[in-house]
């Protein structure tokens, strides 16, 4: 990845974060923490990796993404709008009655959403089914899924992982958003998610650790996943919850936060200043 390409993705990520903050502020509150932590990943996938046709969201042989941590829908909507799946103005209807953008992903309502999620642990199983189906169809299509580290406390995640490993679903790439926090507290204070890499390897996956906020590192990991032909890959992403929404960074209660328009404006201004300094 050259400097221009990195710069392009960085600008897309900054734009996405701004849209996302405004999107949640337009409703007044929302799942900001886990949405902000996966923005860079989503930008990378949708602008550089996935084989998709935004003008034809139901194209059968597309790559698909299941956002198993379905409460982070607002982040995905901010990216889908930028990709042209729907008009950006819809972002301000988030969670309003009659909206096509509910905070938890709904494949029946939102163009570009490949599976409904919200009951944690289920999306990764659906992703296993999708990857299995793509292979059965003989398509070259791939399936991506994003699970939370807190979500990984769900037993069903491991049922899905053992099946995908047993079936050697090499067209399945998972990401664990290892931001170290869940709704109530830091993950370490509840049920720690230790040795994830070893766990996945034991279940027959390739496991790669990467910095979830660094595009060259994301590229390295995702390319390695793409080139792994004998098993699924889990990329364990070291991320920061609320990354880019500065009022939520480094605090415990950043899972879902009230965000006024004034707070949003200041947060966006502060984010631009920080990015400029970088």
């Amino acid at each position: 990845m050259n400097k221009q390409e990195i710069q392009f993705l960085k600008e897309k990520a900054l734009d996405t974060r701004v849209r996302l903050i405004k999107e949640i502020a337009s409703f007044g509150q929302g799942h900001i923490g886990g949405s902000m932590s996966i923005v860079d990943l989503l930008v990378y996938l949708y602008f550089r990796e996935m084989n998709i046709r935004p003008e034809n969201p139901q194209w059968a042989e597309r790559d698909r993404l299941v956002l198993s941590k379905g409460h982070s829908g607002p982040a995905l909507y901010a990216v889908l709008a930028e990709k042209g799946y729907f008009d950006e103005s819809l972002l301000s209807t988030l969670n309003q009655g009659g909206t096509t953008l509910p905070s938890h992903c709904d494949m029946l309502k939102t163009p570009g959403i490949d599976y409904t999620a919200g009951s944690l642990g289920q999306g990764i199983s659906a992703a296993v089914g999708i990857a299995l189906g793509q292979r059965l169809k003989g398509w070259k299509a791939r399936t991506f899924t994003i699970v939370g580290d807190g979500e990984s406390q769900e037993g069903q995640v491991w049922e899905a992982v053992e099946a995908a490993g047993a079936w050697k679903l090499s067209n399945l790439t998972g990401f664990t958003d290892l931001n170290g926090q869940q709704l109530d507290d830091y993950t370490d204070a509840i049920i720690p998610m230790k040795q994830l890499k070893e766990r996945y390897e034991t279940f027959g996956w390739k496991a790669i650790e990467a910095n979830g906020h660094d595009f060259p590192d994301l590229e390295r990991a995702i390319e390695e996943a793409r080139n792994t032909e004998d098993r699924p890959t889990m990329i364990i992403l070291h991320t920061k919850k609320s990354y880019g929404f500065i009022p939520g960074e480094g605090i415990k209660s950043n899972h879902s936060m009230p965000i006024s328009m004034e707070t949003a404006d200041k947060a966006i201004k502060d984010l631009f200043e920080r990015e400029r300094d970088v």
């Binding site: 059968a60 698909r64 009951s119 199983s125 299995l132 793509q134 069903q156 049922e159 899905a160 099946a163």
Partner: protein, 314 residues
């Protein structure tokens, strides 16, 4: 369609019906949860090895995998014992199949007391109530081999998620090609004008017919309806029975709460019909181990129990 007499048990009928569909429709896949030798989906695996997946003892995962397969154009049939095919994977059926509008066909074998020697842990008394809470599931429980074969085919063609209650063992032949078998349309097994016995499933339809025979000795003419489809409910036939006979005995192999009896009573009340009604069901309790004969007596689900209820309201 093939000759039903080729089959030995209901389980062979279910799998045979699905195999016959799968020969024509290449979207059909089968998922089992380490119970393939119990239901005989091993036959499906033999016929279509690439379209069969044994998901192991992980029912919740199986349900969502089926949902995922559905989203790329497959139509999965999935199987477990009824207790696991409902309770154990309930949130998955609710969210990843029902709410997501995925067409997945769930086979719950050995409903209610037909679980017999597997005992209380394996007796789904509440599966009808649970599945009724998911707004788009067809729920059906055929009472003989031919209707089982045909209704599996019709459910596939309907294209909505479904939940099948069927015993694995036994091979009742009640109907022939002259019988009109249609999903959502109860079969009138006996005509009668004094009372209507509505029954679901093999052994309760058996007992309902036996009860009707016994009641005739008392000059009571009982109508018997085989309610093989629980949802969508055949309200037309039920309303007619309520109007014609004014008395209903509603028999189901499960709990009263949320079951067929409650569903029918509620419908009739909302349509200003107030026939006299009595229920045959397991009541408000857990299951226990025993033979079908022992358990049907233990839970008051025999033809004699049906007759007693009829005498209560005549």
């Amino acid at each position: 369609m093939r000759d039903i007499s080729e089959f030995q048990n209901y389980k062979d009928v279910v799998i045979g019906s699905i195999i016959d569909l799968a020969e024509v429709h290449d979207d059909i896949v089968f998922l089992d949860s380490d119970l393939s030798s119990c239901i005989g989906s091993t036959s499906f695996q033999k016929e279509f090895p690439s379209r069969f997946f044994n998901c192991g003892i992980a029912e919740a995962n199986m349900a969502c995998i089926a949902g995922g397969l559905s989203s790329v154009g497959f139509t999965p049939f999935i199987h477990s014992f009824g207790c696991f095919a409902s309770r154990r994977m309930y949130d998955q059926l609710f969210i990843s199949i029902g709410y997501a509008h995925r067409t997945v066909h769930v086979i719950g074998s050995d409903p209610g007391i037909t679980a017999q020697y597997n005992g209380g842990t394996h007796m789904p008394f509440e599966d009808i109530a649970l599945m009724r809470q998911i707004p788009n599931f067809v729920i059906y429980e055929p009472s003989d081999a031919l209707s089982l074969y045909k209704l599996v085919q019709q459910v596939y063609k309907r294209g909505e998620p479904s939940y099948l209650r069927t015993p694995r063992k036994g091979m009742t032949r009640r109907y022939d090609e002259s019988t009109e078998i249609e999903l959502g349309k109860a079969i009138t097994v006996r005509e009668g004008s004094d009372v209507t016995i509505i029954a679901t499933g093999v052994f309760l339809v058996d007992h309902a017919i036996k009860a009707a025979d016994d009641l005739l000795k008392h000059r009571i003419k009982a109508r018997v309806l085989d309610l093989h489809t629980i949802r969508p409910l055949d309200t037309e036939t039920i309303m007619k029975a309520a109007n014609d006979t004014g008395k209903l005995i509603i028999c189901e192999n499960g709990r009263y709460a949320g079951g067929v009896g409650e569903m029918i009573s509620s419908y009739l009340i909302q349509h200003d019909l107030a026939p006299r009604i009595r229920f045959i069901n397991v009541g408000d309790c857990f299951g226990e181990v025993g033979s079908l004969d022992y358990l049907s007596k233990r839970f008051g689900m025999t033809s004699g129990d049906i007759c007693k209820k009829v005498f209560e309201i005549l």
